[in-house]
C-alpha cells in the first residue's frame, strides 16, 4: 500500500466528492498535507493534446470527482469489420498509475490528472436500470478499459462494491482486468461465482522492457492462483504480443508458465492480440520512451481501421505460434483473438469465431443488439 501511495505527488478532491466513500478512504490513507480540496479540475489550462511531460505528470496526480456522464459503454471492438466479444465497459476512472510503453491511453487522454470517479453509486444505478431489461442476458461487464481495474483498488475498494452488486445478477459476469497483483483486498468478498479476474500477461522480458511499474509475470500468476483458489474465475489476455528477436522462445516460456500452473478448466478464456496503436500516439511514445523499446522500434503499418500494426503475416505467425503452443499442451484451451479481422481468424484458427462452438457464446450478436437498445449515447470518438 505504501508503494501505491508513494506514486502520487498530490491528491485533489473536488468539493462535490469530499463526502464520498472513496474520498473518506483517501483522507485516511494519505498525509493531509498532500491532499487539496478543489472546486475545479487542477491544471485547468492543460487540456487538449497533452505533451509527453504533462502525460507523465498526470500519472502522479490523483483527482477524485464525480463523473457527470453515462458510465456504461460498449467495447470498442464491437463495430463492423472487427470480430469482437460481447463486452461492455464500465469506466470508473481515467489514466493508469502504471506505465506501459504501448499504452493506448497515450493517444486519447486529454486530462492532466489520474481521475477516479467518486460516484460509483450512479454507475450501479445505471446497471440496475439496464438490469430491468437484460437481467437474463449473459452480459459481460469489464472495468479495465480506461483505468487498470485493480492497481488502485487498495485505495478505492471498488472491487468489493462491484462484486457485491453482481451477486444479484448471477447471469451477468463482471471482469476485472489488470497488470497488477492486487487481489487480496477482495478475496474474502462473498460472490456469486460470476466474477472473472483477468490478467494481461506478457513474456517476462517484455514486462521488464515495456510494462514499467507493473507486477512481474510471477506475481501476476501467483495472484491469479490466489483468486482462483477463492472461487473467482480467471481469464488471461496475452496482449499485446510484441515482436522481438527472441519472441518464439519467450512466448513459448510464457505459455509454459501458464499451462504448468493452470488447467484449461480453471481459465474461463484466453485472448491474444498483437501490438496496435493509433498513429498519432507514436510521437508521444518516441518522446517518452525513446527508440530503445521494442514498441517504438516496431515495424508497423496502417491497417484498415487506421491503427498501426505489424504486417498481417507476422501477426498470423505470432498468433499461430501461441495457439499451437497452447493446444499442444492441451487442446482444451479456449483462445480468441482480440481486435482482429475475420481474415486473421480464418488464416490463424481456420474458422470465424462465430462458427467456433467453443467461442460462440463470447461472440453472440444477440446480446450486442439487446444492449444497443438500452444505450443512449454513442461510444466516444476515441474508441473509433
Amino acid at each position: 500500500m505504501q508503494d501505491l501511495i508513494a506514486k502520487f505527488d498530490r491528491v485533489f478532491i473536488h468539493a462535490d466528492s469530499v463526502d464520498s466513500l472513496v474520498a473518506q478512504r483517501v483522507f485516511s490513507l494519505f498525509p493531509r498535507e498532500q491532499i487539496e480540496v478543489v472546486t475545479e479540475r487542477p491544471f485547468a489550462k492543460s487540456e487538449g493534446e497533452l505533451s509527453a511531460q504533462e502525460f507523465s505528470r498526470s500519472k502522479r496526480m490523483l483527482y477524485l470527482c464525480k463523473y457527470p456522464g453515462q458510465f456504461f459503454k460498449r467495447c470498442p471492438g464491437s463495430r463492423p469489420g472487427l470480430a469482437c466479444c460481447n463486452y461492455f465497459v464500465l469506466n470508473w476512472g481515467l489514466q493508469c498509475d502504471m506505465n506501459c510503453s504501448y499504452c493506448y491511453l497515450q493517444s486519447f487522454i486529454n486530462t492532466p490528472v489520474l481521475t477516479v470517479y467518486s460516484n460509483l453509486d450512479d454507475a450501479l444505478l445505471e446497471l440496475e436500470d439496464i438490469g430491468k431489461t437484460m437481467r437474463d442476458h449473459a452480459l459481460r461487464v469489464g472495468t479495465g478499459e480506461t483505468v487498470d481495474s485493480l492497481s488502485l483498488d487498495e485505495i478505492t475498494l471498488y472491487s468489493r462494491r462491484l462484486i457485491s452488486f453482481f451477486r444479484d445478477y448471477p447471469k451477468w459476469s463482471l471482469e476485472f482486468k489488470t497488470k497488477s497483483a492486487k487481489v487480496d483486498q477482495f478475496l474474502e468478498s462473498p460472490h456469486a461465482g460470476n466474477v472473472i479476474v483477468s490478467w494481461s500477461l506478457n513474456a517476462q522480458p517484455i514486462i521488464t522492457s515495456e510494462e514499467h511499474g507493473t507486477a512481474s509475470l510471477e506475481e501476476r500468476l501467483a495472484a491469479a492462483r490466489r483468486a482462483s483458489d477463492r472461487g473467482f474465475k480467471l481469464a488471461f489476455h496475452i496482449d499485446p504480443m510484441i515482436w522481438h528477436p527472441e519472441w518464439r522462445e519467450n512466448y513459448s516460456e510464457l505459455v509454459r508458465q501458464i499451462t504448468s500452473r493452470f488447467t484449461p478448466k480453471e481459465v474461463s478464456y484466453m485472448s491474444v492480440g498483437a501490438l496496435r496503436f493509433q498513429p498519432e500516439q507514436r510521437h508521444m511514445m518516441r518522446e517518452r520512451f525513446g527508440l530503445n523499446s521494442h514498441v517504438t522500434r516496431a515495424e508497423t503499418f496502417a491497417g484498415a481501421d487506421g491503427k498501426l500494426r505489424y504486417d498481417a503475416e507476422v501477426r498470423q505467425e505470432m498468433f499461430k505460434h501461441i495457439l499451437d503452443t497452447f493446444t499442444s499442451a492441451d487442446p482444451a484451451w479456449r483462445i480468441f483473438m482480440c481486435m482482429e479481422t475475420p481474415e486473421t481468424w480464418l488464416k490463424t484458427a481456420g474458422a470465424s469465431p462465430f462458427k467456433d462452438d467453443a467461442l460462440k457464446d463470447l461472440f453472440d450478436p444477440s446480446v450486442l443488439h439487446a444492449a444497443s437498445r438500452v444505450e443512449t449515447k454513442p461510444v466516444q470518438s476515441f474508441f473509433t
Partner: protein, 271 residues
Amino acid sequence: MVVRGMSLIPIVQCDRRLDFSPRAVWPMAMPAVAWRGILLTGFERTSGDVLDLWQNNRCTWVEAFTSVYPSLGLAELARLHRILASDYTILAYEYGESLFSFYGLRWNDRLSQTIKWLGTADREFQDWVDEKKLGARDLAPLTSAPPMNDWLKNLIALPLSKSQVVKAIENGVDLHMMGRPLTELCKGDTETAENYFARLETMRRPQTAGRDQAQAEEILKWPWPAQTRAEWRRQGDQAGLEIHLRAVSPADLKKKLERLNSIGDTWSCKT
C-alpha cells in the same frame, strides 16, 4: 451619414516594430499598419505614413494583427512567438492563446514545444516548412530528436511531396535515434529523390522490406500466362499479389484463368 476619414501618422512615430519577417511583402500601394505605435507591416520602410488601427477604431492587438495577416505559416508564427516572448511579454501573455486559436491552433505544451523548436531553426528550413505547409504534428518527431541540421539541409533540397516529406522526417528521426549516423541518412550523390525515399523506408522496416523483396523475386519465377503482369505490392499492413491480365477472346481468358489457377496452387505450396 458622416464618413470619417482614417487618420495617418508618420512612420517615425512608430518607435517599435513587430518584425517577424513575414514571407509576403506588404504592398507599397498601401500605408503601413500599426497598433498603438507598434509597426505591424512594412518593416522595410523608413518613411511614409502609417495607419494606426487602434487610434482609428480601438481594436485589440489580435484584431489588428489578424486583419493584416489573415493566414500565416507555422514558421512565421514561430518567429512571431519568439519576438512576442522576448520583447512583448504582456501582449504574449494576454493574447497568445487567442492569436494561435485564430490560426486554427490550440495553445498547449506540445504546440509550445514545437513552436519554440521551430523558432530557433535555420531560416531556410523555416521557409521550407511554410512552403510545404507543414503542421505542428508533422514536425513532432524533430522536437524529441538530437539536432539533425545537416540532414535537414539535405532533405529540404529534395523534390518530395508533402506526404513523402512527413514520412521521411519520421523515418529519419527514428533511424537517427536508433543509432544511425546522419551521413548514412543523407541522399547519395547518384540517388534520385524517389529512390532515397524508398531507401529510408527500407532502412526503417528492414525485415518487412526483406520479406516483400523476397516474395517479389519469387513470383517472377512463376509461369505467368502471356500478356499478364504480376507484382507483389504492399498496402498498409498487408502485402499481396496484384495481377493485370489482358485477354483477347473468351477462349483466351479461360485459358489464362486456368493457368492462373495453377499458379494459385504453386502459391499455396510455398506458404
